[in-house]
Structures are given as structure tokens and as C-alpha cells.
């Protein structure tokens, strides 16, 4: 602790006083992300470097002083990975927000980590290009955070996750040196795939200061199909048939009965699901024209065969947008019923029904509402627990439900996190999923790249 003032002095000397925040009233805004129940501490300082060199300076200063660094972007995360620990330096990347290059002919962009996802989407769209990853927070989350957590979104069923769009990175390592991974070419196998090692490493191995991203052609305006089922099991049958028949919609979302009910109340509208609908499937095709029509007709047929009470397809952008809005409104709708905490498990797509059924049982058992929404096309479900954060008893029950959902996901052959990450809330679950050898390899890699345990110590796993 005696070195504390020295490190602050050094940070101020390197970054200027305006970029080094130490007032607790100010730094508290950078203490945590959007996962309410993850622990967080009080940072020594929050720094906002504005260049790669400044990031290197921060890393060297902290390494020399033995002060841990927690890197973060906008703080939209849902695992506490960006949460401060006591006496750390929070390294915020939001000032590194330049779109350095958009290369239309090679379909790539080079960006700094603080660029907001939506800003990148808009910028490349002007060049006739498309950046697929679309986490729910896409209008305020940063690319750096997306990279650190390997963020997903609604696009994944057709376009994959963030790591599928990354060609190369620049990363400041624990000794302050700058590592360049990957390349600007579409293919390349020169050496280990370090790019994908850093993507999803949740700020535990280095600070990403630049990314070269692969872009896609802009897809066609989507057509949208909605299907309402009497029970989740019927919707599950439809999802399995869609996968089996080789259909690849550009979006396939599921809402359970609880989600439908709260959204209908919240939006003061009917989703056309009828009273007491058991589940809703929302699908899009962005293939355009005749192909989209054929894909959506095939999806309609599958849903009807699986027992849907209602199927409806629209190519009207406003109507399609409304339906998507309903899906995106679930969390806000749940807010009217209490505090919420969203879980994130991914199961084999044939097991979605079992997951929804299991969540119903867990909800009944703990006596809390659990609404299930999720990306049915890839089995990534977000059971969301509604509770009263001011009640210690309800908080304990919420934790119990959260854990029961993870155990259920694992028992169904799934993973404890499809896209939100491990962070500071699922460390023990990571060990349970990976096993002893897997954890040992994680520790060996962490120790090899960050021997002083400088970056985000205790997050994801302890060394």
C-alpha cells in the first residue's frame, strides 16, 4: 500500500491528471458491470488511456507497483468480469474509440477497442458492409468488451459469435510489450491461433488495443415469422425439426409462457399468442426474395406440424420490427415485477425443452419467477430470475435458482455460459465444467502469459 501514491503519480505523469480518476464518487461509476450479484471492490484509480502507448505505460506502472489491472469497456457485461477489485486500477478503453480503417475491397475493418458496436455497424453499413455480432447491448457496448467476452447475440445462429469475425488483434501484454496476432488475410495458419486465445479471455491475459475484423456483405431485409405453441415442448419439437431439416434462419428466438405474459402486459399489446400460450418462436430469414419466402414457408410448415396454434409471416419491416421489439423487451418487462438476474446456459438444441421444463420446476421450488428467453437456433438460453434485491432471503433464493439452472444446463450436456462469460460469478462452475486437467491448463497458460497475475486476478479462475 505504501507504493500507492507513487503509482498514481506515475499514471498522472503518463496520462495527464484528467485521465486518472481517484475520487471515489467518480470511480464508483466504474466499479461494476450489469450483473447485479457479482462481487465488486473499490478501485485505487480509474484510468482512461487515449493511445496504445498510454496503455503500455499504465501496464508497466501497475506491473512495477504490483497493482492489479481490471480492463473494461462500457460495462455492459453480465458476469462481473469487468468489476473492480479492491485497490486495483480499472483500465477503461472507451477513449480508444477510433475506427482506424474500413477496407471495402478486402471486407475488413481495423478498430480500437472503445468503438461502440452500433457505431461500427453504422460506419461499415455506409460502405455496403455488415458486422454481424449483435449482443443485446449493441447500442452501447464496445468492441473491446465484445472481444473480451466473445459476445454473441441474435445473429449467431447464422453468422456465429464475435470470434468468428476477428482476423487479428493487438494486445498489450503484462510486461507492457505489444503483441500482434493474426493477420489481414482471410486464411492463415502461421503459428498458434493466439487471436482466438485472447478473444473470450475476459481481460485476464492482456489489454486488447486494436482489432482487425472481417465484415460480410449486407444481408437482404429480413422477413419475419412468428409461431405460438400451446406448450414449450411443441416449440422444442419445431426447433429440432428446423435443425434436422438443414434450415438456417438468420434469427430464431424462443420465449416461454412467462416471458410472453410479462411482455404482453408491458407493451400493452397482444403477441397473437392467445391466452396462456406456452411458447413463442420468432424466426427471420435475410436471404431475400424467393429464397426467404421459401425458407419462411418451410419454417411455418414445421411449426404447424409441431402443433403451433398460430403461425404468421410478414415482410413488412414495421411489423417485423414490432415482433423483435417484443423479444428484446423481456428484460425491461421483468423490471416491472422486481429486480432481475439473467443466467446464460447453452445446451444441445435438442435439449431446449428440457431446459425450459427444468426452469419451471426450479421456479416452483424456490418460489421465484423464472422467465426463459433465448437463442433457440443455437441452444443458448437466458433463464431470467425475478427477485427482490432488498430482501436477503430473496437474494439467497435467486442465487439458489441461478446455481440450479447452471447444474441443469451441465446435466443436459451443455455449458455454464453461452455468451456472457465466467467473470466473477461463475468461477466455481467453470472448474466444474472443465475438470481438473482443463483448469490446470488454464492456470498454466495464465501463468505463462501473466506470471505476476496482473490482469483481472481472481476473475474467471484463481491461479
Amino acid at each position: 500500500m505504501s507504493e500507492t501514491p507513487a503509482v498514481i503519480d506515475r499514471l498522472v505523469a503518463a496520462l495527464g491528471p484528467a485521465a486518472v480518476l481517484t475520487d471515489p464518487d467518480v470511480t464508483s461509476a466504474y466499479q461494476r458491470d450489469m450483473m447485479p450479484l457479482a462481487p465488486h471492490g473499490s478501485p485505487l484509480a480509474v484510468v482512461l488511456p487515449a493511445s496504445v502507448e498510454q496503455v503500455q505505460e499504465v501496464v508497466r506502472a501497475c506491473a512495477d507497483a504490483g497493482v492489479p489491472i481490471v480492463p473494461r469497456g462500457a460495462g455492459s457485461g453480465l458476469s462481473g468480469a469487468a468489476n473492480a477489485i479492491d485497490d486495483c486500477v480499472v483500465l477503461v478503453t472507451t477513449k480508444l474509440n477510433e475506427i482506424v480503417e474500413i477496407d471495402q475491397d478486402n471486407r475488413l475493418a481495423v478498430v480500437q477497442p472503445g468503438v461502440v458496436n452500433l457505431d461500427l455497424r453504422n460506419a461499415v453499413e455506409k460502405n455496403g458492409l455488415f458486422y454481424p455480432p449483435d449482443p443485446a447491448s449493441y447500442d452501447w457496448c464496445t468492441i473491446g468488451g465484445n472481444l473480451a467476452t466473445n459476445a454473441g447475440g441474435l445473429c449467431c445462429v447464422k453468422y456465429g459469435v464475435t470470434s468468428d469475425s476477428v482476423l487479428g488483434l493487438e494486445v498489450v501484454l503484462a510486461d507492457g510489450s505489444l503483441l500482434r496476432t493474426g493477420r489481414r488475410t482471410v486464411k492463415g495458419v502461421a503459428g498458434y491461433d493466439l487471436t482466438k486465445l485472447f478473444v473470450g479471455s475476459e481481460g485476464t491475459l492482456g489489454v486488447i488495443t486494436s482489432a482487425t475484423l472481417a465484415l460480410k456483405p449486407i444481408p437482404q431485409a429480413p422477413g419475419t415469422m412468428v409461431a405460438a405453441f400451446p406448450a414449450a415442448s411443441a416449440a422444442g419439437v419445431a426447433v429440432t425439426r428446423v435443425v434436422r431439416e438443414g434450415l438456417v434462419p438468420s434469427l430464431m428466438e424462443i420465449m416461454d409462457a412467462t416471458s410472453i405474459a410479462v411482455v404482453e402486459t408491458y407493451l400493452k399489446t397482444e403477441l397473437g399468442a392467445g391466452k396462456g400460450a406456452g411458447a413463442l418462436l420468432l424466426c427471420q430469414s435475410d436471404s431475400g426474395g424467393e429464397v426467404a419466402r421459401r425458407e419462411l414457408a418451410a419454417l411455418e410448415q414445421i411449426c404447424t406440424d409441431a402443433g403451433a396454434d398460430l403461425v404468421h409471416t410478414t415482410f413488412d419491416a414495421a411489423e417485423g420490427g414490432m415482433l423483435l421489439k417484443a423479444r428484446r423487451a423481456v428484460l425491461m418487462a421483468l423490471e416491472e415485477h422486481g429486480d432481475w438476474m439473467t443466467d446464460d446456459v447453452c445446451v444441445p438444441r435438442t435439449k431446449i425443452v428440457d431446459l425450459i421444463g427444468g426452469c419451471e420446476r426450479i421456479a416452483a421450488e424456490v418460489g421465484l419467477t423464472v422467465a426463459v428467453v433465448g437463442h433457440a437456433g443455437d441452444g443458448n438460453m437466458h433463464p431470467t430470475i425475478v427477485y427482490d434485491a432488498s430482501s436477503a432471503e430473496q437474494v439467497a433464493l435467486a442465487h439458489k435458482a441461478f446455481a440450479a439452472i447452471l447444474a441443469l444446463g451441465l446435466s443436459l450436456g451443455g455449458t455454464i455460459t453461452g455468451e456472457h462469460g465466467v467473470g466473477k460469478i461463475k468461477q466455481e462452475w467453470l472448474a466444474r465444467e472443465l475438470g481438473e486437467v482443463g483448469m490446470r491448463v488454464h492456470r498454466e497458460i495464465k501463468k505463462a502469459l501473466d506470471p505476476g497475475n496482473l490482469f483481472n486476478p481472481g476473475s474467471m479462475f484463481s491461479v
Copy 2:
């Protein structure tokens, strides 16, 4: 060396005498892969384990005795990565050749590493599924080798490389323990992406004993378009336009003037390119029906606008197959002109023309034939040098041309290997591409996972 007999005894005890080959006349067949100029040594023994437990036994025995292990599959590699070094044990995975599971509903397969790529393709096709990676040697290369080199092929422009199809692995580590990476779900971010760290690691980090592979729906029967250009530059303009316009053919191959000429002679047929054609583009669409027609028409238009002398589209499977056969026949055709050595660089797609032009200059400079064929859709080019392996002078010139092509690829913003790997022929080039920090990180990871330098020492890089 004194421990040699002991390790052989132990291997024989574990695997049985038939699975431990020591006769030099027999082991010589396992000394090298298909890259003629990569160095190779004489193995102490060649072992063919038939179970994961036997692989673990081999690893433990060799680790205890300090005998290095070179893992290999069928030996179709083109970088010498599977080449034996003196007094090593070559661990052949071809007896681990079971397709353990095909899960149609979750679109995945679990396979052992010795399964031949084509056997997997055929097996999943019977279940209505498609395994995209299609290296040129797909009818005899193994999945294990594909994983170790992160193999590509003609499919990559639309379907990506091997790592894009891998969900999880089982790997025997240097201490004989069994690591499970990844998962059976489509998405998952629990921990570091160890799966992709091992894919493409060329047998330097462990022995892959099982892989869970993501499958795709079977695409439609392809339509094929061929375009002949007066000069490579015009074909390059067409490739850039295709990328810029957002077209994604399922195949887009380029052949330069030399490749066209040797193939026409070899197949005793005309490719319709006319006398002295400068380049040929071969494209396919597997989107089916009206969409394929539209895609191929758009490709035709782009080629015509770029100055093609001839464009021709066919939906006749036999005719399309003939055209593809011509592309695949280039190496065999070159064999009639001498020995060949194929290089493997990947450049930004806008730089293909510069690469072909540069290869012409290099060919003239060294006085050898260099034929350029490649995957134009992703910039992955295979300039192939024809020389006389019995002439020391020509061998030296071939080496010179090989190196000049790599330097050219790097100078164009490309990589020294798009899909063949580094192996035992491009180690110094890897260091040149990755730089000091990149190499240090490689060594740190290697040391963390294989502290005794047991696996494929000296291949890819030296510790």
C-alpha cells in the same frame, strides 16, 4: 541412447509387438510427408496405438525416457510437420479411425483422429449432413492431420477452414493426462478457447485423440462458371469486384497461364481458354435453383466487365466436374515436367494480381517454371515450383524461388502459410512474420503445455 531398448520394451508391453515398428525398411515409410524439401530423420520406432489409453501409455513412456514424439496421420502434409526427427517415436493415429457418433439432430459428429476425411464426408452425407473442409488430399488425409494443420481446401471461401468446424477436442498432454476442450453445443465461452489453440498447433502441444465436429446441411448441387482472361491482371480485377459486390461463391479458384498450359497438355483437352490465355477463374454456386442462377449470372457479368474473353456457365454435373478436375490436375500435370514443390501464401484478395506477377518475375529470375493456382476467393495462392530434384543446382534454385515467394507474400501484407502450415520448412519465416513478441508468446505457451519439449521438437519453432 542407453534408455532406448527400455522404452521400446515398454511400448511393446503396452501396445503389443505388431503396433511397434522398428525395422528401418518399414519405418522409413513413416519418415516424411509430401513436402519434398523438408528435412527428416530416422525414427527409433513407429507406433500405432489403437486406443486413447495406448496413446497415453506411449506419451508417458516417451516422456519418462526423454524420447521425442512426432505425431502423424496419413502423411499428406505439405510442410514436413509430420516428418520424423532422429531417434524419435513417430506416433501414427491411423488405427484410431472410428466415427464414434453422428448426431443428426444436433448436427455434429464425434470422430477419432485417424478417420479419413472422405470417409467422414461419406458417412455424414448418408445422414443428410455435410462436413465442409476439403483439402486436396481429402480422399486419403485424416481428420487428425486436418486438425493439426487447420487444413483448408476449395470450400473455404464460403465454409471456412477446419477450425470453423470444430466444437471440441480430446488431447493427450505431455504428462499423459487427457484434456477435454470445448463442448457439444454450438456456442460456449466457458474459459479460454483451448480448442482453437490446439487446432493448427502441428503436433507441438499434444496428441488429439477425439474431435467433436460441427456439420452443415448438404448444399445444393453446384452450378459452375468458367471465365478465361487475356491476362492475370484482368482476373484479379474480377476477384476484387466479386468481393466488393458481396458475392460469396462456394468455390472460386484461379489458374495462371502456366497452369492452364500444362493442364491442357496433360488432359489432352482445351479448357476453352484459347491460345495463350492469361488466367482462368473457376467459380461455383451451391445455393441452388434461382439463387444459384442469379449468383452465377452476376459472376459472369463481373468477369465480362473485367475483360474476360470467354465466360461459360453450366449446371451439368459432368461438365462442372470436368472443369474442377482440370483445376485439381495441375500438380499431376506439373509432374510430367519435373519434380514440384508447392508453396502456400495467403494475401489480401486485392493483391492476388501482384502475387501472380511477382511469381512470373521470380520464375524468370531463377530460370524455373512457377505455376500459380490458388483459392482466389480467400487469397490463398499455391505457386508451384518445377525443378529437377536430382540436380543440386536446381534444388538450390527451387529453395531460392520458394523463399522469394514467401518474401513476396509478406511484402503484400500476406502470411507465409494460408493452410499448409510451418512444419519443418518455414520456421525462420514464422519468426519473420510474427516478430519477437509473437515468438516469445509462442515459446511461453509451448513451455507451459510441454515443458519437456516432448512433442515435435524443432517443428514450427525451436524453444
